[in-house]
Assembly symmetry: C2
């Protein structure tokens, strides 16, 4: 008799204590263990996908910023065809350098973290740095690219030569880098808010 | 003997089944009920604060966009001092109009929703619209403001008159509207991700 009681006890152990069910929000353990595990694996998969996605976007942004930087820095052809005679082209160069350094540093850090599975920074600091860094550099890139467009348009109305073409190429690369970083900022923002929920 | 067994069973019932405790993330029921209520009231307070904050930021952005729009649209003083002879100033005007319409519409919708406590759109659609709208209009505002800065600088080197001053004022107002909308986009992004977690 006491044996069968023990059996009952073991069988009924995983039933939910009713105190836990607050306005039907908290799942009962039966659903919780099923829901919890699938939710956790789903979350891991999503986080892994997002991590790779944001690394890829930063890589793309690094590539485009580097091209923008090289194109603009080598854009000196004498007389009026020197990029450093125009403040908008100097701004484009400065932001391209900044964006190259930022995306390069971030990509290196994330590659290092993925390959060694070791965090260099606290997860919270890292998420904050990612989001605000991406967002600020994205704003700077679109600002620099937009600033240089009107001057380039005006020059190309008069003359279409290697100087104006290089300017246009550099500006386009900054727009592409901006697109990649804006998407990366979306992902970082998502990571930041989901993390603050834990 | 069987009676004391029952007692033991009752006493041990509210203890959490160990299967639920996944890496110490899931709270035990005792902490869950207390934590749940305070977390929910805290969340309500925070959401109320964020709703008012984002409405205030949109109001500020509306004000600044409207001033930018009026300043630029009335900036015609004959000869070379007409804003519509320069593509960057036309761009500033176009984006100021767009931003005025967008922030005005959003502010009206949110005021209507707060005063009648009735949602015009699905919460998810509304959060998506808020976030993407704010972010895109913020990018457009910084782009337009940046595009017009170099030309204004160049004109002010030569002559400092009512035309260049109005241009500078309009550009500054767009920068301020950008700041407000960028902050509003942060709040909307936060709302969007916390909502998708429910």
């Amino acid at each position: 008799m006491s044996n069968s009681d023990d059996k009952n006890y073991v069988a009924s152990a995983p039933v939910a204590p009713p105190a836990m069910d607050v306005e039907g929000q908290t799942p009962t353990p039966e659903t919780a263990s099923g829901f919890g595990v699938s939710a956790i694996t789903r979350r891991w998969k999503r986080e892994d996908f997002l991590k790779r996605g944001s690394l890829a976007l930063r890589g793309v942004a690094l590539l485009f910023s580097l091209i923008a930087f090289i194109t603009m820095a080598s854009n000196k052809h004498g007389d009026w065809k020197d990029f450093d005679k125009y403040e908008e082209f100097r701004y484009v160069l400065a932001i391209a350098v900044l964006s190259t350094l930022y995306t390069g540093g971030q990509a290196l850090r994330h590659v290092h973290e993925i390959s060694t599975s070791k965090q260099l920074l606290q997860p919270r600091t890292s998420a904050l740095l990612d989001f605000f860094g991406d967002q600020i550099v994205a704003y700077l890139l679109i600002s620099a690219a937009s600033a240089a467009v009107p001057m380039t348009n005006r020059m190309r109305e008069g003359a279409d030569n290697i100087f104006t073409d290089s300017c246009a190429a550099s500006i386009s690369m900054e727009f592409l880098a901006f697109t990649a970083l804006a998407l990366s900022a979306l992902i970082s923002g998502y990571k930041l808010t989901t993390q603050s929920q834990i």
